[in-house]
Each structure stands twice: as C-alpha cells, then as structure tokens.
Symmetry: C2
C-alpha cells in the first residue's frame, strides 16, 4: 500500500494544489511513492482545527501516514483588536492546541509518522493593507510581521518540547531580499516563489527525517527496468 503524506493547515494549505502549489509539487516529487492528502481549511485557526480534528482525519487508517505536516498559526496571529479579531487565538492557547493536535496524530494516526511543524509565514503589512478581507477602513493591517514572528517562535518551542522537526518559514523567507513581494501575493498567501520555497524546504526537512525519493520504494516496475525483449517478466 502506498504511504500517505498528510498536509494539515489553513488556507495556505487549502490552496496548495493550485498552479505551482506546494502540494502539487510535493505530489509530483513523490510520484508513485507517496499519496499526498490535503487537509487545508481556509480561515481556520488551531482552536477551530482542533475541534474538528476527528473529522479531518476521518477515513485515514492507523499507520497509513509516513508524515503529517501541521501548518497553522497565520490565522491565530490575527490581532485581537483589529479587523480579523474573531480568528485570533492567544499564544498560550495556540501552543496548547498545537500540542493537542500532535498528541491526536501520534495516538490516532500513527505513532511512527514524522510530524513536521511549519511556522506561520512572515507578513507583508503593506500587502495586507492593500488586500483587506472585507471592510478594513482603519488603514491598519489585521496582522503584523512581528506578531506572526511571535507565533513562529511559539511553534518552534512546541516542536522543540516534542522533539519534532520544524520548518521556520517565517525566518527562512526573510533571509531573501524583497521577500515581501517575492514570496507573498497579498501579504499573507504564497506566490509561485513562495510555494517553491515551502516545497523545497519541506522536502529537505523530510529528507533529514529519512523520507526521500531515494529511501521510499516505487510501487510498480519502472519503465526503464522493463526488458524490451521480454516485458512480461517484470509483471509476474
């Protein structure tokens, strides 16, 4: 049976099968080795995600997953006193929720699957002001980069406590000049380049954990291994 890589997150995950999306890239990269299962929920924070976790993983049998990627925090980090306040989750609860999601995955999905946390991405505040959700007449972004950074730190500390790999995309993106417009289309969601860096960094993180195209078996004989003089001997 082909193993699964499950991607669990918010809109950045929900949109990941769009053109150039990081889920498409991952599915293509692990072609014939892994099924990528997308569980992305636009607008969701960890509070709502945790409430629904049983339904999210419904139908996924124990042990099917080799890896589960948990990518939340961008909505939790909406500021409590700005236009998206109803999505806000305070940092202590964000950490508790992440830990509860991790425990759920370990108990119900797989005790051996690699669980990778991804921090929220950085915020381009200019992009957020120019692309508000609904009405935002305050002229203030509903998210700030420094707050997203605090959630990224919190995510990293949960990973460290649980001895899990973490992809700090908040820091990684900001290593590059012009990261604001290069990686983010509206100050929050990913451009093609943004998807590419998430994909590449995740592949690298999975490889560190022993999950790579080199280590995973291919499902059926590869075309190049089929003998043109006697093809059927590959299919006995």
């Amino acid at each position: 049976m082909r193993p699964k890589v499950i991607l669990f997150g918010d809109s950045i995950t929900e949109m990941a099968f769009k053109n150039e999306g990081w889920s498409s890239c991952l599915a293509n990269h692990f072609c014939r080795k892994v099924d990528v299962v997308l569980r992305g929920y636009s607008g969701y924070n960890t509070r709502w995600a945790l409430k629904m976790v049983d339904k999210v993983f419904d139908g996924i049998k124990l042990g099917e997953a080799v890896a589960v990627v948990v990518f939340f925090g961008a909505n939790d980090a909406s500021l409590a006193d700005r236009s998206s306040s109803f999505q806000h989750v305070p940092i202590p609860e964000y950490k508790t929720n992440l830990k509860a999601i991790i425990s759920y995955i370990k108990e119900k999905i797989s005790s051996t699957a690699v669980i990778v946390l991804i921090t929220p991405p950085p915020i381009d505040e200019d992009g957020r002001i120019k692309n508000p959700y609904g009405e935002n007449t305050t002229g203030l972004p509903e998210r700030t980069n420094s707050d997203a950074g605090a959630y990224a730190e919190a995510c990293k500390s949960v990973a460290m406590e649980n001895n899990l790999p973490v992809l700090d995309i908040w820091s990684k993106m900001q290593e590059f000049p012009h990261w604001e417009k290069t990686f983010l289309s509206d100050g929050l969601h990913l451009t093609g380049e943004g998807n590419k860096i998430v994909f590449e960094e995740l592949v690298s993180k999975l490889m560190e954990q022993g999950i790579s195209i080199e280590t995973l078996p291919i499902d059926l004989p590869h075309f190049s291994d089929i003998d043109p003089l006697d093809p059927l001997k590959s299919f006995i």
Copy 2:
C-alpha cells in the same frame, strides 16, 4: 469520509501533478470535497496495467471512490513494427484488457463509482520524430495519428458496450487549429493547454454523471459560513 477520484493511466496520468497538470487542476477544483488519487504508470500499456491491477488499487477500500478515470491506449497504440514495438498491444486485446479493468473496478473498488474512459490523445507525428525515445534512426514516428485514432474508436466502443461515459480527447483536441503544438509538448504528452483541455472536459464529463462541486458536500464549515460574533457555534 472524503470520497476519492482515482486516475489510472500511463505517463500522461503519471505526470498529471506537474505544474498545470490535469490532476492538480482536478484536486484544486474539488478542493475539500474529493481526494484525487493518482495511479499513473509511465510507459505502461493495458496488458501490463491489467497484470498489476491488484497492486494499483491496493489499500483503496470498497466504496471509497466516487469516480475512476481509466486513461490508456497511447502506449498500446505504439506500432508493432517501429521503435517502441514492445509496448504495442493489438486492438482486440486492448479492448479485452479495458473490459477486464472495468470489471475489476466494478467488483473490487465500487459497483456504483462512475467509471470514465479517456481515449488516447492524438499524435503529432512531427513532434514524435523530433523527440524520439532512445534511438530512432528510421525517421519514422513510433506512433501515428491514424493508429491512435483507431485505438480511440476501440475505447469508445468499449465504453458504449459497457454504458460508460467516455472522453474522446483524440477527436476533441483535433477540433482546434494548431492542435499539434498547442496541446502536445513532444507529439504525445500534454502541454499546459493540453492539461487544461483534459481537465475541463473531464470536469464536464463528471458533471454529466452528477459529480460536481455543486453536488458534493464540503467537509467542514466554510469560512464564509462562520459567524464572526460566535465562531464556535459552527464547530459543535
């Protein structure tokens, strides 16, 4: 549990999670409603695919699929006396193999899933001569468009006999001027535009069978249905 749409075919299917690929487009289109499961095998004809069909569908439980797409014939149609002759399958056997695959799906995967056949695409012979597989010093393409058309007809007749929907992509593509380079990157595989037309025609074919984003339920509350004043009431 989220239903599955399974895509079973050759390299045109295996490559369908690449950028702009028809599987990515389908997964994104049916976002939060369906899991697209890719089972593409580069180089495979129906003879080899049938031999492996148990392994192909291993781990997919009875009744999980709402649709199975079967997209073979491009390799079967390799000419018996040209450079890819070892992939050739005569038309009568191609039809028998397709029928056996259909029977397998009905018995083992789902008696109610919609099974959609897709014919092989047309062949741009100029593209095949310019992009040979390995050595082809004959100056002759290993596939011709008229032979691919005969396999497309055979596929359509199997669909008709079994009362199944069929997407005749061989004919559909040739309705457009410059189809040879617009839809085919090397005379056989799909360009971005080629992927787009397969995606669009397949969505339309599924819709005719009652499978559409309008008819399929969303898995969890949509963000726009969550009350900002009392979000948690959506998650009871």
